[in-house]
């Protein structure tokens, strides 16, 4: 019997790769957090000193409190914004509501670091456009808003994170069986009672899971805490870990202890989330049937909902994009005025394009984004084939392993990988390869979701037909499965390449001069106070993202099934 054919070889290879990517960083992180001395130094012993140092510092509890406060604020505010928009677009007769669907997703494409920067440029007490404008108009002495505060941080984070809530809640509204509501109406309850007694309870699991996932995202967030929290002296876990490594000398052990703590919090959250969503699938509301949601006639109120929706769009998209564009064309930062308008220039762009590192950063970011998206989607397609189509023992574990990195905050992954590649004799630390591995690890969970969802829809007989026609397993995978997976593959690819291009929290611990990426370059320029240059770079980044998303969609349509 031929044991080692190409199929066995490829599948075992993919499985081992996933186990390596997901398992090794976890092990090394735990290992690192109980070592007494920095990596590679002789005489290091096992110790709990790092944890003692972390937990007996009274600052730790302030940190914990700040993180929770920040997470709760973020999940509440994103929930309010996202759910409102989802309700308006799915369940009301607000005019132009279809437009919201497209527009509310725009913040997805803006990298977090740019969105954060734009809100500093808008709400900083000294240079914030909004503050300056209001001060000017009302003749105020001091600035009305201060972005360098807990509320400023929560606002900057939420206005960027709400699209996920919008998507999840839209789906929840859409999937609800309207006959459940109609039954309540025919039983004599009013529209409001129906909403309170039937609609809301039915959506409770969905709402709770959305809140939870955004709480976790808030706690894991890095950009806003780093750019706003650090100057404001409001410390959270992610920035504390970053600072522990960036101080001199680096305290890897302490960073490890904090990272493990953060990992425990986020893992707990992800586990609870998984439990709820699994229960939710059993809930009768989601059947995949195309229900036509009951649309509520708002009467004249529909202009109010339209107004609020437009306001959200204005705050989430128009203002940040405007301030980025505006700042990228002016020689020094200032409020739009006739005088400054006359000084508009391409100089910032010229500076960026001639910046010594810019070309390297563009290239690195591009390769990493395309490379990680492609590898992740190919790898997870193979894994999805194993977990969905075979009865291989241990396939459940493999699925879990592929999904584990979702619980790893970017900064924690960064710390873990430092330990891994400073300890293991694989000489890639400080190269672009360590970033590639980091990105693949981090984005695997998104890939496996997209891949499994499409894989489930492919009838097994389509594969078997290829085998009986004489195709090898590999030919079958390439000629039948991959093309059929293409729509899901493309969607996953676009998503991953976009989030890869703006990745900051992991890269910032792993990059070196030669492996700088765009988001790091933006971070450095910002730290150096070169605001107008950052904005020019940001505009170029967004353009690159748009081009990539557009191209991927075109290519995917050509290869896959014409829809």
């Amino acid at each position: 019997m031929k044991r080692f054919n190409s199929q066995t070889f490829i599948l075992i290879g993919a499985t081992l790769f996933v186990l390596y990517l997901a398992g090794v960083p976890l092990v090394m992180l735990l290992y690192g957090s109980i070592r007494s001395a920095p990596i590679g130094e002789p005489g290091a012993t096992y110790t709990i000193q790092n944890y003692v140092k972390a937990y007996f510092d009274k600052e730790f509890y302030l940190l914990l409190l700040n993180s929770i406060y920040y997470g709760l604020g973020t999940c509440t505010l994103t929930f309010l914004i996202g759910t409102f928009l989802a309700w308006v677009s799915e369940r009301t007769n607000t005019p132009l509501k279809r437009l919201f669907v497209v527009m509310s997703l725009i913040p997805f494409i803006i990298p977090g670091i740019l969105s954060t920067i734009s809100w500093i440029l808008l709400l900083s007490p000294k240079i914030g456009l909004i503050n300056l404008a209001i001060k000017d108009v009302l003749g105020l002495e001091s600035a009305p808003f201060n972005v360098y505060s807990m509320w400023g941080m929560i606002w900057a984070e939420s206005i960027h994170l709400y699209p996920l809530v919008f998507l999840l809640m839209s789906a929840a509204f859409r999937n609800m069986d309207t006959s459940l509501e109609e039954a309540a109406l025919t039983a004599g309850s009013s529209t409001f009672t129906t909403f309170a007694r039937v609609t809301l309870p039915l959506m409770r699991p969905a709402m709770f899971s959305v809140l939870l996932i955004n709480f976790i995202r808030g706690i894991e967030a890095f950009e806003v805490p780093a750019l706003i929290g650090v100057p404001a002296k409001i410390s959270v876990f992610t920035t504390k870990i970053f600072l522990a490594i960036h101080q001199f000398p680096s305290d890897f052990g302490l960073a490890g202890a904090y990272a493990v703590t953060l990992l425990v919090i986020s893992t707990t959250g992800v586990l609870i989330y998984g439990k709820i969503t699994r229960k939710e699938e059993r809930y009768a509301t989601v059947t995949g049937k195309g229900y036509r949601p009951r649309v509520i006639d708002l009467g004249a109120w529909k202009y109010l909902t339209l107004g609020i929706s437009f306001l959200i769009f204005f705050l989430a998209v128009i203002l940040p994009v405007f301030v980025l564009l505006w700042s990228s064309f002016i020689p020094y930062y200032g409020v739009p005025s006739r005088e400054l308008m006359g000084k508009m220039t391409w100089a910032n762009y010229q500076y960026i394009l001639n910046y010594p590192l810019a070309l390297t950063a563009f290239k690195n970011s591009f390769y990493l984004s395309v490379g990680s998206a492609t590898v992740v989607m190919l790898l997870t397609s193979l894994i999805a084939w194993i977990t969905v189509k075979t009865k291989m023992p241990g396939r459940g574990l493999l699925d879990t392993m592929t999904f584990i990195p979702i619980a790893m905050p970017g900064i924690v992954l960064g710390v873990s990988l430092i330990w891994v590649y400073l300890t293991l004799p694989i000489p890639i630390y400080g190269t672009i390869w360590v970033l590639l591995l980091a990105y693949i690890t981090k984005f695997m969970p998104y890939g496996i979701r997209a891949a499994s969802a499409s894989m489930i829809q492919i009838n097994k007989e389509l594969e078997e037909a290829s085998l009986t026609a004489g195709g090898t397993w590999f030919q079958t995978f390439r000629k039948v499965l991959l093309p059929l997976l293409m729509p899901g593959f493309t969607a996953g690819w676009i998503y991953i390449s976009i989030i890869a291009l703006r990745e900051l929290s992991t890269s910032i611990l792993l990059y070196s001069y030669n492996s700088t990426v765009l988001s790091i370059m933006a971070f450095d320029l910002w730290e150096g106070g070169q605001y107008t240059y950052v904005c020019a770079l940001g505009v170029l980044m967004v353009l690159l993202l748009l081009v990539m998303a557009f191209t991927a969609r075109k290519l995917g349509a050509r290869v896959g099934i014409a829809e």
């Binding site: 009986t468 195709g471 039948v480």
Partner: protein
């Protein structure tokens, strides 16, 4: 072909599904020989193991015991650890869902077996054209697969299975997704296609009418076992197993004990609750053995007056008579039991009529009664 050797040989095939406690024994030592050039049907109710056997021949399932050879080549042998993967077996298969790849055109679907062998473009074009002509789809080469009707999809599936000139064609319930009229049409098309190509074909179905209409040979399966093999007419007229008698068409069963026997296939006598009856014994039936008589409703002439000088005449009362156009379907009470009788429409009867049934001795098949495996006791008997 002159040499009527067996194209497919299946020997003591064993297969389990599931793991540990949920392990189910789905094939229990199935042994079959499929003659070259024949249209051979696996027939049985769902869960009988017919599709699993077919998938073992295809190599899509790996048996847990036994041996399979195709055209003299061993493709699976448990003891010797031989397993030829599906793609190396000389087969073509048509699936229940047809499995037409939606991202390819008709021509691309059909050409697939040749494309992966890297045949020349000219050869592929020529052979695709030929095979599409055979299945009656010429001219549709460039149509995208999702734009085909059910019947067309099925023809594409056939063309794809045929193009590589396989030694064996495997058809897994290919007609079950078609509407009734198309099913009958495709049934005869399959049969004539098989005649023309004379490719050994295994056809899996749960539809006994389909099996009778299409097959050269039928293997009746039940509960993971082979029950009986034979030509359609033989299985219908002279079943030797109780399951075959009840599964293929309608029948009446009358229990009794063999009292007189004059060798295989010669008339004997059986003592039943309805009296002493003449019958034809199945091979192997012994004297004093508990037996059951199977007689089809259409083999029971119905008389208003008691016929004279005939054997096996029973008296009864009509309980139900449904006019079907070409026949009356009657239920006749004989003692405590109801017999199904089909009678010619000239012979009008109505409920309450007193009638005499003649159980034509040549049509009374005596089968071993203890062979109760999987018998659905909806007919007469205890």
């Amino acid at each position: 072909m002159a040499d009527k050797r067996d194209m497919v040989q299946i020997e003591s095939l064993e297969k389990y599904f599931g793991e540990d406690k949920e392990r189910v024994h789905v094939l229990k030592g199935v042994t079959l020989n499929i003659p070259e050039g024949s249209l051979y049907t696996f027939l049985g109710p769902s869960g009988c193991g017919k599709t699993t056997t077919l998938r073992c021949v295809a190599g899509l399932e790996r048996p847990d015991g036994g041996k399979i050879s195709i055209g003299g080549q061993t493709v699976f042998a448990f003891g010797e650890r031989v397993y030829v993967p599906t793609n190396k077996r000389p087969i073509g298969m048509v699936f229940q869902s047809y499995a037409i790849w939606p991202h390819m055109t008709v021509a691309e679907n059909v050409a697939y077996p040749l494309t992966i062998q890297r045949r020349s473009k000219d050869e592929i074009r020529r052979r695709v054209g030929d095979v599409l002509k055979v299945v009656g789809l010429d001219g549709l080469e460039d149509r995208p697969a999702p734009k085909l009707s059910g019947g067309q999809q099925q023809r594409v599936a056939f063309a794809r299975a045929l193009i590589n000139e396989p030694k064996v064609m495997l058809l897994d319930e290919p007609l079950s997704n078609l509407d009734a009229r198309l099913r009958v049409q495709m049934r005869s098309e399959i049969k004539s296609l098989q005649r023309r190509t004379s490719i050994t074909t295994i056809f899996v179905t749960h539809d006994q009418a389909e099996a009778l209409a299409i097959s050269d040979q039928i293997a009746v399966m039940h509960g993971g076992k082979l029950i009986e093999v034979g030509a359609p007419h033989q299985l219908y007229a002279r079943p030797t197993r109780r399951f075959t008698a009840t599964f293929l068409g309608l029948t009446n069963l009358i229990e009794g004990k063999v009292v007189e026997l004059d060798g295989d296939s010669k008339p004997g006598k059986i003592q039943t609750k309805k009296g002493l009856l003449s019958f034809i014994p199945a091979p192997g039936l012994k004297k004093d053995q508990a037996a059951v008589i199977s007689i089809r409703p259409e083999n029971i002439p119905l008389h208003k007056e008691k016929p004279q000088g005939l054997e096996n005449v029973l008296e009864g009362t009509v309980k139900e008579a449904i006019f079907m156009g070409d026949a009356y379907q009657c239920k006749v009470a004989v003692g405590d039991d109801l017999l199904s009788v089909h009678t010619h429409p000239f012979n009008a009867v109505s409920p309450g009529d007193k009638v005499y049934l003649q159980l034509d001795p040549a049509s009374c098949n005596g089968l071993p009664a203890d062979d109760t495996e999987g018998v659905d006791e909806t007919m007469l008997g205890n």
